[in-house]
Amino acid sequence: MNIGEVRPYGDRMNDGAIQISFSLPVPVSARSIEAVKLIAARMGMNNIRLVHAQDMGNNFSFYILYGAINISVDLQAIHVPEVELQLFDFWEINDLIRREFKRKVVVIGATIGADAHTVGLDAIISAKGFGGESGLERYPELEVFNLGAQVPPELVVEYSKKIHADVVLVSQVVTQRNVHLFNLSLLAELLEAEKLRDKLILICGGPYINAQVALETGFDAGFGPGTTPLQVASFIVHELMKRKMRKK
């Protein structure tokens, strides 16, 4: 096998075979069939075989086609950047915690300061979750306490002490006069003063939150819009493992 020149494979080496299917917002007709072939041709397909064309009602139609493409890639020339966060799946995360830590990981979530927006926090934490993924509450090996909105940073500190939290998740939506930076830094400082900072994984999230914000405010990670519960859970597990290794 020449990995300098890899092509799609159907049943013979280098045949370039591919299959595609899609819909058009018009009924099937001689013209629509030609249109589909034209689309395929413009995609670079040759030997186009339209194997299925069907009306789907309300002027939509569905097509399946086969063909070949004359594209090859050099696998050696591909350099994949180091993946920053390797995602685990739901089951892996729970298994890892069970195996590596032999206890539940305690997570606190809150929107701090005057901020009353909890949509982001809920998307990550509440059982229903976001984007088809379960929220952190649904992970049997995570024990989650959702403190809700407008929680003073002092209370987060007090609560983390009380329940021996491993992770603190903070959501900030309001950014007027950089109030989010103020709130986040304050929390990090308070935790530091209580000598809790190193025992905790501190994570912030929100529409204007990113890695830079996390760095500036003394957090371990900052997640922006579109983040899913799985990404947060994966980060938590990675970070816990990293810290465990360091201790050894």
Binding site: F60, F62, V119, A123, A127, G131, E137, Y139
Partner: protein, 520 residues
């Protein structure tokens, strides 16, 4: 096809669930909520919004601020109508504009206020009964749908795109179309107004959107000569209000679960129980089918070992709905298998569980939910899982089947995803239609054993719930290990104790009868 299960055990489940439901009923009877009060205002025909805040919210908040909500909104509205001679809507307009304070008007005798309230309630209900009759007549004009009803979801975020997708689905053979709501709408303590074209993972449930979808489905029904059922979600902090909107706009099926909000949305348990009771009461009056969400209970626990929690929740949901006055044939209990396909005989267990639910609740229009947990980006294998699910659904004679999508794990369905899914379901509905009458489980075989085991577990869990009390059970994680505090969760501040002049004649059988007669 029948499983050989113990009737005594089934009866025991029902009896214990009834006691649990009665405990709930006893504790919520003295309570009302802001959502129930807003539902009453909507029943009176009050509509409109000011600066994005619905009138019904402004009215309820106004009374709450004046510490006058304990008497209930109807007391104050009826008293205001008596004082001013205005309609409830005109009273509302004046309160919203600040030109009338209902609490400052002279208070008529309680009997006078009560009579007026009853008159308003009778008028409102008879208006709704007239609408219901018209819808029934429309439904009757079509041939009865083939079982099971095929249920699909649209979720574009834009009501106009939803309509295009819904009409297409109907032409492809769907019987029921549900519009998924925008993410976290259930956490809003008000119902947004107007036609909406922006949503997150779904489309906002508003009265205007309901109306547009209703028109579209009635139109396409004529084209395909089949009645198309409109489905939406009667859940979250506005459960009771949404029930009113559904009745007003002629929806057929509402997803409505007594526990879902508490467990999966962290809504306060008292708030949810009060709201579900009034919402179910209203939906029951107007023959709207409810469907419950037990499929959620087994999505993150071991679905094989812990399946019996589905039965537990179904028994309690059934009793709660019955106590709200619903007939059994309106109580669509939900279930799913969500079994790991790698388990040997997973299909047999799926078949057994589906049959067990059907047998335990023979009159319920049960809603069977598709596999989702073990679907990946392999859309071809997902299609196989769905085909097997469809087979089980038809074989066990389920009533409503939510169709799985090959792209379940990827995105909200493309038009061709729904098409392929319906094509498969139509084929299987036709190809295996007589299975339930022609095939039989071996007596005392593996299926019978599994069914008995599950029923035994359900009895045990129900007994445990009865022993500690339902509120404690919810705070101790009996349901899928999720723990909720009694006073915790959203919406607790909206729960209040009814005062001595509290009025809600909508609950009065006499008034309902009168309204029904008047609508003839």
């Amino acid at each position: 096809m029948k499983l050989n299960i113990s009737q005594e055990q089934a009866n025991a489940c029902r009896q214990i669930a009834k006691e649990v439901a009665l405990e709930i009923q006893r504790d919520i009877a003295p309570l009302s909520t802001v959502s129930v009060e807003r539902a009453i205002l909507r029943l009176l025909g009050i509509e409109g919004e000011k600066e994005k805040i619905p009138y019904v919210n402004i009215l309820v908040d106004n009374l709450k601020e004046q510490k006058a909500l304990e008497e209930g909104v109807l007391y104050w509205i009826a008293n205001a109508c008596l004082n001013t001679g205005l309609s409830p809507q005109d009273v509302a307009l004046k309160v919203v504009s600040g030109s009338l304070n209902p609490v400052h008007l002279s208070r008529k005798s309680f009997q006078e206020v009560k009579n007026k309230a009853e008159e308003l309630a009778t008028e409102s209900l008879s208006r709704l009964y007239k609408k219901k009759k018209a819808r029934e007549a429309l439904k009757q004009s079509f041939p009865p749908s083939l079982p099971p009803l095929l249920y699909v979801i649209v979720a574009t975020g834009n009501i106009y795109d939803d309509i295009a997708q819904a009409k297409t689905a109907a032409e492809q053979g769907a019987d029921c179309v549900a519009v998924i709501r925008s993410t976290a709408q259930s956490l809003l303590d008000y119902v947004p107004e107007g036609i909406t074209t922006e949503g997150f993972g779904g489309t906002f449930a508003t009265q205007a959107n309901y109306r547009l979808m209703r028109q579209a489905l009635d139109e396409v029904a004529q084209k395909v000569s089949r009645y198309i059922y409109q489905v939406n979600y009667c859940s979250g902090l506005c459960m009771a209000e949404i029930a009113v909107l559904a009745i007003l706009e002629g929806l057929d099926i509402m997803v409505n679960d007594a526990f879902y909000g508490i467990l999966f949305r962290d809504l306060n348990m008292y708030r949810t129980m009060v709201d579900q009771h009034f919402s179910r009461y209203l939906l029951g009056l107007f023959d709207v089918i409810i469907t419950t969400g037990e499929d959620n209970l087994i999505k993150t626990v071991d679905a094989f070992k812990e399946y019996s929690i589905v039965l537990v929740s179904q028994f309690i949901n059934e009793q709660l709905a019955q106590q709200a006055g619903m007939k059994k044939d309106l109580i669509g209990l939900g279930h799913a298998a969500e079994l790991d396909p790698k388990i040997p005989d997973s299909l047999l267990w799926e078949l057994t569980q589906a049959q067990l639910v059907r047998q335990l609740f023979p009159r319920s229009p049960v809603k069977f939910m598709p596999p989702t947990r073990y679907k990946t980006g392999n859309i071809f294998f997902a299609h196989v899982l769905d085909a097997l699910f469809n087979l089980v659904a038809v074989w066990t004679d389920q009533r409503i089947v939510l169709l799985g999508m090959p792209t379940e794990a990827l995105h909200t369905p493309y038009v061709q995803d729904r098409f392929l899914s319906l094509e498969s379901a139509l084929h299987i509905r036709n190809a295996s239609r007589s299975f339930s009458r022609e095939l039989q489980f071996i007596r005392n075989g593996q299926a019978d054993k599994r069914a008995c085991e599950l029923l035994t577990q359900a009895v045990e869990t129900l007994m445990k719930i009865r022993e500690v009390g339902i509120w404690n059970a919810l705070s101790r994680g009996v349901f899928s290990q999720i723990k909720r505090e009694k006073r915790g969760g959203r919406g607790y501040e909206g729960v209040f104790k009814k005062g001595k002049f509290y009025l809600n004649p909508f609950l009065d059988k006499k008034i309902v009868m009168q309204a029904r007669r008047r609508a003839v």
